[in-house]
Symmetry: C2
């Protein structure tokens, strides 16, 4: 018997977060727990540790979602997996509406920005920033708003019975978002699903003393231990301008070697924090490539 998994997402049903959650858990037996904000999502997970969370962290066009790194670091929750989703944007409206009827388009500012080339063809359409792509679609259906369109995923069109006025309107087709699946630590220790996948990736955050070559030392030690990096990001600390935190993602073959490398770098960092250990994630790659070899490819340095 499969138990239904509950997964907290920011925004409404039909969003890219829901699509990524379904792809990660590879099952329809999941129930979405919608949250207004990412802050509320973390609060939800803290209150009920049977609930998972999913959160966008990085996009191949716009880079890291820095606020989410900060929320994760401060939450005490851990990353238990990742998924990379190809982002496609659809222009949705009530059935029967034509693009000439549309006076306003509502969506998340990032989605509006990513459809810039398409929207430039329709200068009379007002671009209105909302909290969420899918919730904009829901709102148009709930209020039966003519003359309004939303930019949202195809799933939102199905869910809220809207028509797709224009398909795949994103300017750049090579647009992937990486999502992290997060959970309460206690729970991950007993979850079959998660330990069945071999852990071969980890996310860390640390500060460094302001001494010459301090980052170089940490990276050298990781290299001595055959630990590869897939990401490095220096991030200004809010309230201490031009002071930095370093977020790094590591991949490794040997879990013990990885643990030893953490012990080896810890004394050279300030406040080293392990944000989670997980398995390198799959990616959706339908319209970009059908090359199966690249399914789990991840470049390292």
């Amino acid at each position: 018997m499969t138990t239904i998994k509950r997964v907290a997402i920011q925004g409404g049903g039909g969003s890219n977060h829901e699509i990524a959650a379904k792809a990660f858990f590879n099952s329809e037996d999941i129930e979405m727990v919608p949250c207004q904000t990412f802050e509320e999502l973390f609060e939800t997970l803290r209150k009920d540790n049977s609930i998972y969370g999913i959160m966008a962290i990085e996009n191949t066009l716009v880079g890291s979602i820095l606020q989410n790194y900060t929320l994760l670091k401060d939450s005490g929750l851990v990353v238990i997996g990742e998924y990379k989703l190809r982002i496609k944007h659809q222009l949705l409206a009530l059935p029967g509406q034509k693009i000439e009827d549309i006076k306003e388009v509502h969506s998340h500012p990032m989605a509006l920005a990513q459809c810039g080339d398409f929207l430039k063809q329709y200068p009379h359409i007002k671009k209105i920033a909302s909290d969420d792509t899918a919730l904009s679609a829901k709102w148009i259906q709930d209020e039966k708003l003519e003359g309004m369109a939303a930019i949202a995923p195809e799933l939102a069109a199905k869910k809220y019975s809207l028509e797709i006025l224009a398909r795949d309107i994103e300017t750049n087709k090579r647009n992937f978002t990486r999502f992290l699946i997060i959970s309460d630590k206690a729970k991950t220790e007993v979850e079959d699903l998660l330990i069945s996948n071999k852990v071969n990736k980890a996310s860390l955050v640390f500060a460094l003393p302001h001494s010459e070559g301090s980052l170089s030392k940490v990276l050298s030690i990781l290299a001595f231990y055959n630990i590869n990096l897939t990401k490095i990001q220096s991030l200004p600390v809010v309230g201490q301008e031009w002071e930095y935190l370093f977020y790094i993602d590591l991949v490794f073959e040997d879990y013990n070697r990885y643990l030893q490398s953490l012990d080896a770098i810890r004394p050279l960092t300030k406040g080293l924090k392990n944000l989670g250990e997980y398995h390198v994630g799959k990616r959706s790659y339908d319209t970009v490539s059908n090359d199966n070899k690249s399914l789990e490819e991840q470049k390292t340095f």
Copy 2:
């Protein structure tokens, strides 16, 4: 006799770009050349190499402006300076308007997001994404639009004779943007202004072979040459998902030592490109700190 300097900015007069330009050139003898987009700004500089450009590159809250890194890298132009500006947002409207009259607020999506806490108090005000903070202010004055507000700098209020309905409405007061001053290479070689300031900082971009510890090697060599880092950013290459470019900022005391270090790392990188050499920039710090010591402080690692 001082000659008037022309400085291309993205967006309209009265923007943070204009404020930063005036602060960097420390003079009123500059004339703004407004450009619709950053792409147009680079085009303008290429056509007339007597024109400088100024471009936001990094914000202490939201991180790097990745698109601008890409534009800079591909432009063949170079960075000749930097300035760090404390960002403040004002709610502007036609004189006589009250906040209760306002039905829509127009601004750049980033400004809307940075004033989230303030705007939450007025859920009836529609947040409308525009291309530019200052241009939204200008539009309200040009069209004499009642019921409309813009989020823009105080300079825009003066310039377009608007009233400040609410002052300093940004959620986080520790909000700095780092601007780069860019120019055509040929020009910088003859410009007194620039060579009078000792060069002690540089911005580089490179790719790396996918071999274990490749970044660690580059950073180790820089450390051996006593070159400090102030920033590192791995940035996904658009069109080659999970392939990365590295943008690093360096500071140094000895210019020759720095040149030698570039020669030393070049064979270990792919396509090392120097984006510019300049003097560590001043920052505006009025409401955050009056501590003069921190004026040029920049943390290194």
